[in-house]
Amino acid sequence: MDMIKGLIPGVDPQDFTHGAPVNLSRRSVLRGALGIGAGAMVLGFGLPSGTARAQAAATMAPGSNVPAFLEIRPDSTVRLLSPFVEGGQGIFTGMAQIIGEELDADPSSFIVENAPAGADYLVIGGQMRITGGSMSVRMSYPLMRKLGASARAMLITAAADQLQVPASELTTEPGVVIHAGSNRRIAYGDLATAAFDLPVPDPETVALRDPATFRWIRQPVKRLDVYDKSTGRAEYSIDVTVDGMLHGAVQHAPRLGLMVETIRNRDQVAALPGVHAVEILDGAVAVVAQRWWTAKRAVEALEVDWVEGTDLPKGWRALPADFSSDAFAQELAAATGPETEAEAHGDAPGVLDAAQTVISATYHSQYLHHAQLEPPSTLARFNPDGTLDLWLPNQAPEQYQAAVAGLTGLEPAQINIHSPILGGFFGRHFLYPAASAYPQAIELARRTGRPVKVIWTREQEFLRDPMRPMAAVRFRGTLDDNGMPLAIEAVSATEGPTEAVYGHGDSVDETAVEGLSKKAYAIPNLRIAQVYVENPVMLAYWRSVGNSMNDFFYESFLDELANAGGQDPLALRKHLLRDTPRLTKLLEAVVDLSGGWKRGPFTAEDGSMRARGIGMASPFGSEAAAIAEVSIENGQVRVHDIWEVLDPGAIVNPMLVRQQIRGAAALGLSQVLMEEARWDKGEPVARNYDMYSILPPDQMPEIHVGILESGAPIGGVGEPPLPAVPPAVANAVAALTGKPVRRMPLSRLRFDS
């Protein structure tokens, strides 16, 4: 499992850097799945002028081949092909800061695009490339610094040649090589052609800047994309057009697993003005038309008889006709079966069985949509030379390329994956079966002989968006004579997204239990285990993955134990973290940020009764602590303020980190307050935002943010601020009402005002 852990967001990717042993059979399987190996490097359109050189240098270590990443234009602007896709997290800006720092080029002079599929870009552990797991900066930081330094060394070498002086006499200022002795300056733009024809130096030999002299790293450098995103200029997959393109719209089967038996009015619809074709696809019908609105209206007019499918495409789960998510939650709560231990020390079962008083509780989480604002789309174009161009939202170009090769029989080198910026992702655009429009777009382009862009409506998206898993966790806990936790056992009946997508194995799926396991609290007797229960619905990664629900479970139950032992929840946490200085400091920081610990209930200035709760989480190599203040308004929870401090060890851009803390906190809040994807009688209750609520602006509290740089190894940023928020809110509600909150979302509960 070690290799898959490294491949999967949220699962100890630092195994790469720690040199953890790798299961070779798993590795070879995944290497195949990722299309790594001979012939896998593909270069798309619009590569920098160094394309040919990039190809020649394909044997270089990933992340080191300067011309594959950088083009310096005559005006000295720097075009960077980023190994990571921009989806809101600010990674294009972060990459420009890191590379620009060593290249000696102002990040504001960068133009950044996502790199095509190719071996040069497999920068995570030298083996893979995804944008996820909050890995982008922490897994590439040394590599990208060296890349910038190598490019600078090449520019200096070229300048030395041009000026006929020793390279040692040359220095740089942003965008310029300088020979101080003769007072001569050459702009990067005038050197780039010669420089990038030079051999790339060994990255291990290039000198890096002393961090004390950083100009851009650790500074709140402005995002490179904000003006374009404030004026409608930014281009997403859904916006891409090519000459001769037709538009496709689909109607998915109401349940995955159903296939088309007949279309009763196919001929009538095919004859509608503007309709080019009516097509039957796997589990869907499609209309191709001159205009998307025409296609959409026509496809909705199709009267389709659906039938239970046989021989479903690989990885599809046929949803039972009577599926009810509420009933499944009860099934999980009662599930027995082999328990796979994720973590155990001491003798929790023995202590609990012998204890006079045991606190028991069952907690529940819900299915969640990603609900990114940009609906999925894919534009597919077969070219006369046999190649295929695809524009689609994705977090893993090489994985999509390999999958398309398998689907079409084309060589990976014939498939050009274009990855425009993402209109939100949150885990939505990894490669999941049945969850992307690319098989449809490819098939429609093949059948019509024209480029086709398929756009899913929100309703069609909600029918195929794979879910954040649901879990039921059975807790038992007991206290010592001082009222402190002596033993905790948590058994989660669930399925992790990794085992759902890649297959269930013998060992525990870390993405199922992270956030229950690996908590830092000093509990003398602990046991965390999973009962694997296959879900009827398709599952996916969702921002902060297992932590998104597991820290809610654990931190809320911890407050139950605190109450049972007559302990203040902050004092209890401080006690349990007394030997962990980093987390003690973090707790103190968030308490300070909130103006001092005040649990309540207390009467606020506006007369409302309020209380505060606290939650902590240790996701993706970072540490987070949050405090929330709540009241009850009209029977529902209102969150007034959230204070959150994140310690990612070290940071690149404090402004981007603050944005991510606020954004992740908002998503965590949305989850705990109102989100839930439900099924009844095999059909989803919600097909759009009208029935699936996401946090609206009037429920957004002010998020007060702190950043700690403890100096620990650099951790993730995009996901880590999320998981501490739901338990902070739940614990505040419990403090206010006197009753524990054991399920999300809170909108399912009614409270007395």
Partner: protein, 153 residues
Amino acid sequence: MQLNINGQTHEVDADADTPLLWVLRDNLGMTGTKFGCGLAQCGACSVLVDGQVTRSCVTTVDMLEGTEITTIEAIEQDDVGARVVEKWVEHQVPQCGYCQSGQVMAATALLKEVAQPTEEDVRAAMINLCRCGTYNYIKAAIDDLSGRKGEPL
């Protein structure tokens, strides 16, 4: 039919019941206005019709002849819109950016109607969804535009 968009008259060949959104995006290639839900729930498709913020995904073109339509592509040609964009950049509002065309249009409509909106005005007018959770930043930018400048986030 003829539509007046961003001060120009466009001859549009579309069925009368086609939503403005799709005429903008497909007929006219103006893709700055975004499709999010198709149900007037999210606001990503917001445009101005005679200065009023309007959800173009549910507004059919037959209702729009004789009106003046403003889209994000022309937002900086409007004095208020240009100030909104400037503050959106200053406060670094967007993350993924997909909802921000609509947010900028909504803010512009609000400020064109009320030069110094109260916090209550802002709450009532700024109802578009943002999945990245940029709401604190949107509020900071509008507070700034309304003369209530606080600490930058």
